[in-house]
């Protein structure tokens, strides 16, 4: 098993995020040679707390086909979802809008403000927005703008097509 860079096909170091690639020659009827399964993860070679010493794969972080490249950094919508789930002030639904301003990519994440956290004071709302921006930036390693939207206003169950709007001209 290898973790490779989905673009170059080169193997990555343990801990580096990339596409899982499997080679299985023992299966005589259907041997697989560097079969790219499309899931994103990384290999962990540290000893597991349970005592097991063999390498493990980390939590699957997303699909290669969902991956966005923002300012050269790989970003997965699943990371955004995962981060939002840890912030009680906003819902877990989101929409990512990517635009190119000049030579730089700008990533906007639209999130729904929950009923309980609505405050009449603009300052409180700005604080929530800044907190979400901060948390996303820490999780994704890329600067993110956040827009608070009305609850229920983001599209649901629409899959990738509506969750990510990439306006960059290719």
């Amino acid at each position: 098993m290898e973790v490779i860079d989905p673009k170059t096909g080169e193997p990555l170091e343990p801990g580096e995020k990339g596409e899982l690639t499997l080679t299985m020659l023992q299966k005589e009827a259907l041997p697989m040679i560097r079969y790219r399964i499309g899931d994103i993860s990384s290999v962990d070679e540290e000893t597991c707390p349970c005592g097991r010493t063999s390498p493990r794969i980390n939590r699957i972080q997303g699909r290669v086909d969902d991956m966005l490249i923002i300012r050269g950094i790989n970003v997965f919508p699943s990371q955004v979802e995962y981060t939002l789930m840890t912030i009680p002030e906003v819902g877990e639904h989101f929409q990512i809008v990517v635009e190119r301003t000049g030579a730089l990519d700008d990533m906007l994440v639209r999130v729904e403000l929950t009923k309980e956290s609505f405050s009449d004071k603009i300052n409180d709302l700005m604080k929530i927005r800044q907190n979400v921006e901060h948390r996303l930036r820490n999780a994704l390693n890329v600067a993110v703008d956040v827009e608070l939207v009305e609850p229920g206003s983001l599209p649901r169950f629409e899959g990738k097509s509506k969750k990510v709007i990439d306006k960059r001209a290719i």
Partner: protein
Amino acid sequence: MDTKKYVIKQISIFSENRPGRLAAVAQALGEEKINILAFSIAEANGFGVIRALVDHPEKAYKKLSSLGYNVAFTDVIAVQMKDQPGGLYDIAKVLGDSGINIEYSYAYSGKKAAVLILRVDQVEDAIEKIQGAGATLLEHTVFH
């Protein structure tokens, strides 16, 4: 002193900052035959808060909540001002001198009087100070 009767329930609505949002809120209130007596919009980056005094706050809250809006009640006070130069100064000075901070405010100049609506950090204190200075506060029954 009974300060409760001077506490007015303002309805606050979270809204995205884009065309048609105010129309949607106003239409919902109109359909329920709710009259808006005073209102203002505060805007921030990408969103805004609509604040209004209406004649039936509970009904407005229910209607807007059922439509999925984020709605909250906020306690405000309404002070009658002299509808002439210096009217606002008189009230603002009382609050300033008493160390009461105005979080936000809006006003209207009606047929009967000019009215200043205030959201302050210490509501009861403000009511006492304003009355102590001889200014008139409007009771909530004036609105709803």
